[in-house]
Amino acid sequence: MEFNLSPEQQEAVEKARTFTKQWIAPYATKYDRSGEFPLEICREAFKQGFMNPHIPDEYGGTPHRVLDHCLILEEMCTGCSGIATAIDANGLSQYPVILAGNDDQKRRFLAPMTEELMFSAYAVTEPEAGSDVSRVKTTAEKVGDDYVLNGVKWWITNGSVASWYFVLARVDDKPTGFIVPADSPGVVRGPKEINIGQHASNTVRVTLEDVKVEARNRLGEEGDGFQIAMKTFDHTRPGVASGANGISKAALNIALSYAKRRRTFDKKLISNQGISFKLAEMMTRLDAARFLTYKAAWLFDQGLDNAREAAEAKWFAADVAMQAAIECAQVLGGYGYTSEMPAEKLIRDAKIYQIYEGASEIQKMIIVGKLMRMKEVY
């Protein structure tokens, strides 16, 4: 068992940390307040090679491991999870193509993303189908060689800047995955949703009105869509967990810095046991969440089933992040409740980790589902 990072991983982490300190954290408040899409930062991230790490090297990407990606994402989310989501959201829509796409689809949709700054979006969630993905109502009717899609997709991250979408739709009641170019007639992008946190992340409604999609843009066979959509999460959940770890790390750093300098009752805040124990607990929980995350990522990289570990990591890291953000605000006292200090943003940003890419309750269902197939737990 090896806990050290390799020199290459260490170098990648240092590079991501520098990028975060220079390009993400200083602009976190600005984009949080304006709600603008951080295009300039994405441009710089693309230039420095932080975007599209999932794309295989034969399509212009770089050799990629989920663990490396988790390490980098944790750093970026320490700066601002909203901006980091804007940078990283391509991965969620790219992975279904990596997983189930044929060579032609990969060349047409993945390869161009390594050549210029482009975005794509994972359009699965619907107003009445979030955690229960199998309820999606969007239809895909076969007309000649093409499919005609109709439906409403909601909370689509990067939805208004995407060049194409991964869409889950029903073909004769069989969930099927499609790649839908954003410029297809009938694709209507809604306004940006005003969420409580991650304001830099672009989340919109995408309406599909008689959108014609060529059969060559169907991913896998008819009826494969649900499997593709679910399998994607085994890959992306460790990444989401590492995003939550980034928030925990930011919360801990801010609380620690404040507690070491703020004076109360003629001594430093950290000298009060009630405060110092909070910091100790935050650190321990962060480490525990990291180890779960790294293991889930490592299992995926080894080609092993990581569904349970990914669910554990995502659920636990999300709860740890939420708790860390709240404790950070508590350590900062009244200042933790003002918008001029970073703690309140962390609380708003952390909440979504307990909800998106499968709510915490869904993660527990996955874990129990795996347990039910076990005779003994080792």
């Binding site: 975060t20 993400i24 200083p26 976190a28 600005k30 200090m341």
Partner: protein, 237 residues
């Protein structure tokens, strides 16, 4: 429309700030925007508005200001010359710009619209009034500048603040622009000394009048910024 103008102005101001102030953060008490470069070697700074003593540290790229103390008894200027004097240039200068603008409009429209003749005849009076307004506003800006410097020495103890640096630089720019505008106007080369109007037959006169108007407009932007920045130092955000 107004929203777009505000957005565009905010974008320009943001770029300007990023370039000349560098990284900024807000005082957690009065919300005044402060520049990170103004924090001294001990990581300390005193907010010029509310007087809180801040210990400012960058943590993972986030700025975390911690309030350590408050300066309750702050040196107050014995005579409030600066806040009084500052209103004179700010109040008079726009009228000088308006005067020059009206003279330029009268020069163009006067020959074309005979009905304007009674007003055009009085153009020399307006030209003289414009000059007086300019001299008064630029003259009093010298008083404002000197009294402002004195206040910086006393009230702010010569501490570096981005706002005060900006005010000093902009004051000098305003003095230069104002001096230039006075010279152009008083020379009678742009707006004729006898008619008070621009001689449209002379390309040099047109060029000089355009230059004067340009200088006056630039001065307007500078003085408006000075007033705005000065206001934030008194009232906070």
């Amino acid at each position: 429309m107004i929203g777009d103008i505000r957005k565009a102005t905010a974008k320009i101001a943001e770029r300007f700030k990023r370039r000349y102030y560098g990284r900024t953060f807000r005082c957690p008490v009065c919300h005044l925007e402060l520049a990170l470069v103004d924090v001294n070697g001990n990581r300390l700074m005193v907010c010029p508005v509310c007087g809180v003593v801040l210990d400012v540290e960058e943590v993972y790229g986030h700025t975390v200001p911690v309030v350590l103390d408050v300066e309750i008894h702050r040196p107050q200027p014995k005579t409030r010359i600066h806040p009084l004097a500052t209103h004179i240039p700010i109040g008079l200068y726009p009228f000088a710009v308006l005067g020059a603008g009206l003279l330029a409009i009268a020069s163009i429209l006067g020959p074309a619209i005979p009905g304007l003749a009674p007003l055009v005849i009085r153009a020399p009076i307006l030209a003289d009034a414009t000059l007086v307004l300019l001299v008064l506003s630029v003259g009093f800006s010298v008083v404002t500048f000197v009294s402002g410097l004195r206040d910086w020495y006393r009230r702010y103890r010569r501490r570096p603040y981005a706002q005060i640096r900006l005010k000093i630089v902009f004051s000098v720019i305003f003095l230069v622009l104002g001096g230039l505008a006075i010279a152009l106007h008083a020379s009678g080369a742009a707006f004729s000394a006898t008619t008070g109007l621009v001689d449209l037959g002379s390309p040099l006169a047109i060029a000089l009048a355009a230059a004067e108007l340009g200088v006056l407009c630039a001065g307007m932007v500078v003085i408006a910024t000075l007033g705005h920045v000065g206001g934030t130092l008194v009232f906070g955000r």
